[in-house]
């Protein structure tokens, strides 16, 4: 069996995305053992939404069997996915949900991801205290879902007060600057909800301000940070969006191309087309384990997990 799969990634601003592509390529390789020849064609570049639509159109021109996309927009691909479907191409989105009825989402629930961090923070703070949030790019769907997730959780804890929310554009240095400004303005912060790489920046400011012991903040999953976390015994917890999501999606895609049917149709999420993957969580209880997985990896390498072929097969009839 021969399948050609196109992988589209519209943002290469973080190592997470690089790792995502690498893991997906490795997953394709792994199919060889099963006698299935999966070739991947990759378009991974910094593009805007129109640019990524061009990715999809290029794949259609190239005649792929399936497209797996980490999309820059939830809704903007509806028309082009419809076109892909017309051309008989299977479309799977990962990492961010899409509204298209012609596509399937395989990845984590970003809202639950945001909520998980917030739950940990609320528990750590005993349900009370002053919290600030440092968010990614305002208006970006993944960011907004995560924000909705933490808001819901904090709303359920009347004694937790969100004193300010700022956007630092998923940029580590901006996260650090934002945290610095927030620390100066709010001397009585107890908790920080911060995403991804910005967490490392925020923690740097917290440590510079000598508040390591008095502040609890969410963390991230790159080896560098996990090491720092272990070494300085940070009061942190990180929900994991594993870069392996695209590999998981690829395995699902191949099985579908083989004509297999899902046991439970993918009908989760707001668009009723999602198949959610589990969200691991790292805190003091399993920090060591996480560190072990990352041993020997480069500093930018993220803690990961993916559906192996067997795991995926279990989901099909």
């Amino acid at each position: 069996q021969d399948f050609k799969i196109g992988l589209s990634n519209g943002w290469v601003g973080s190592e997470w995305r690089t790792q995502m592509i690498d893991e997906a390529k490795a997953a394709a390789e792994a199919w060889k053992e099963k006698g299935v020849n999966v070739t991947v064609e990759v378009q991974s570049a910094n593009v805007d939404v129109p640019g990524q639509i061009a990715h999809v159109r290029n794949f259609i021109s190239a005649g792929v069997d399936a497209i797996i996309i980490n999309p820059n927009s939830p809704t903007a691909f509806d028309p082009v996915f419809a076109q892909a479907k017309e051309a008989g191409i299977l479309v799977i989105a990962t990492d961010a949900e899409v509204s298209s009825p012609d596509a399937l989402y395989v990845g984590i629930d970003q809202k639950a991801w945001g909520a998980a961090g917030a739950e940990w923070l609320a528990k750590t703070l005993d349900g009370k205290g002053n919290v600030v949030a440092i968010n990614g790019v305002a208006g970006h769907p993944a960011n907004e879902m995560r924000v909705a997730g933490y808001k819901e959780v904090f709303a359920a804890h009347p004694d937790i007060k969100i004193v300010n929310e700022v956007n630092a554009n998923w940029d580590q240095a901006q996260g650090q600057q934002a945290m610095q400004n927030l620390l100066a303005t709010y001397p009585d912060i107890n908790g920080v909800w911060v995403q991804d790489g910005m967490a490392a920046g925020a923690w740097k400011s917290i440590m510079d301000a000598g508040k390591t012991d008095s502040i609890a903040a969410t963390g991230e999953i790159r080896k560098d940070f996990i090491d720092l976390w272990t070494k300085d015994k940070l009061n942190s917890g990180a929900s994991v969006n594993p870069p392996g999501v695209m590999a998981s999606a690829l395995n699902v895609a191949v099985l579908m191309l083989q004509g297999k049917e899902l046991k439970e149709p993918a009908e989760a999420g707001q668009y009723k087309n999602a198949m959610y993957l589990p969200i691991p969580f790292i805190d003091s209880s399993n920090l060591e384990e996480a560190a072990k997985q990352l041993e020997g990896k480069p500093g930018y390498y993220s803690y990961t997990s993916a559906l192996l072929i067997e795991d995926a097969e279990a989901l099909f009839k």
Binding site: N58, P74, P79
Partner: protein
């Protein structure tokens, strides 16, 4: 008695020179033809009707935005907020359609409101740059931040879908011909008409020297504002295309297009310093960017190299455009 002609100026090449003077986009056109050929060579299907339709759909917005940018560059100005205007108009029309429903009348009303929004943004830029005389690069960067904020206010997160009738029309066919081709033809007619206007000519004259134009009795401030207003209107048209193609609202959708629109204008042979250029060139410039991007994929560039190869190719095309254009004209 006539003054005697100095012998040095070579007159033989003046015909070639004339041609390039009149059609400054010729070098760009040559680059484009080569790129199209290469695309066809490496991926024949990219030149099929579907492939070409897809390309037009994808890059029509950039073409329109490049044209928008051209009008301000004509007069020696620049608009770093063009992409932000696209985003703003995009969320405005999506918002209106979501509010009022997606029937034909509403869609038309939404588009009118969108045009008005683009026009208003253009006028704001015109006031800030021409009337208040702030430096265009920094002032329109500031307005771009403002417009983005406004877009975020109107629609805090990307998403809201466009009515199906809207994008199905845009993506569909009429009499077996893809709708976008009608749009492209309309667009071409519009450009031909605009070339003949007083505003076009006067913008170019202002671009040749504001002080001179003012002293000649031209209402320079009003003309420059006219350029920005036109830019706003074309940015709104670009937003319509984006909305047709993405069928949704996104407060950040146009942000990255600004710099590409400037690159497209330069690729098309217009002078950034003003006074010299064509809108056709800018359209070609936008297409060059599009074909470079797809060619990079079709030749099989490894993914981690794609951005670099695109960057280098665009830089080389920019340089070639400037150099060939100058060489041919000199």
């Amino acid at each position: 008695m006539a003054s005697i002609e100095a012998p040095a100026r070579i007159r033989s090449s003046s015909a070639v020179k004339r041609v390039f003077e009149r059609y400054p986009f010729l070098p760009a056109l040559i680059i484009l033809v080569v790129l199209i050929a290469l695309n066809g060579w490496f991926q024949p299907r990219s030149l099929s009707l579907v492939g070409v339709t897809g390309l037009v759909k994808t890059y029509l917005a950039l073409m329109l935005l490049a044209v928008a940018q051209t009008y301000v560059i004509y007069s020696g100005d620049i608009d770093l907020s063009a992409g932000a205007i696209v985003s703003l108009v995009n969320v405005v029309i999506i918002g209106v359609m979501a509010q009022w429903g997606g029937d034909g009348v509403t869609v038309i009303a939404a588009l009118c409101i969108g045009l008005a929004t683009g026009l208003a943004c253009g006028i704001v830029n015109g006031i800030v740059v021409a009337a208040l005389r702030l430096q265009a690069i920094v002032a329109t960067f500031a307005t771009s931040i403002f417009f983005t904020g406004l877009a975020l206010y109107i629609q805090p997160v990307a998403g809201t879908p466009a009515p199906a009738a809207f994008w199905r029309t845009y993506g569909g066919r009429i009499l077996e011909i893809p709708f976008v081709f009608y749009v492209a033809v309309l667009f071409a007619i519009l450009l031909v008409v605009l070339v003949r206007t007083r505003l076009s000519l006067r913008l170019l004259a202002v671009g040749d020297g504001q002080q001179e134009a003012f002293q000649s009795g031209l209402p320079v401030t009003r003309i420059r504002m006219g350029g920005y207003a036109l830019c706003g209107v074309f940015a709104a048209l670009a937003a319509f295309c984006i909305t047709g193609d993405t069928a949704s609202g996104d407060p950040l959708v146009g942000g990255k297009m600004t710099l590409f629109s400037i690159a497209a204008v330069v690729l098309g042979g217009s002078a950034l310093s003003g006074g010299y250029g064509t809108v056709v060139g800018s359209v070609i410039g936008a297409l060059i960017i599009g074909f470079i991007n797809s060619l990079v994929f079709f030749v099989g560039t490894p993914s981690e190299w794609q951005n670099l190869v695109q960057g280098v190719a665009i830089l080389l095309a920019l340089m070639a455009g400037v150099l060939v254009g100058r060489g041919a004209r000199a």
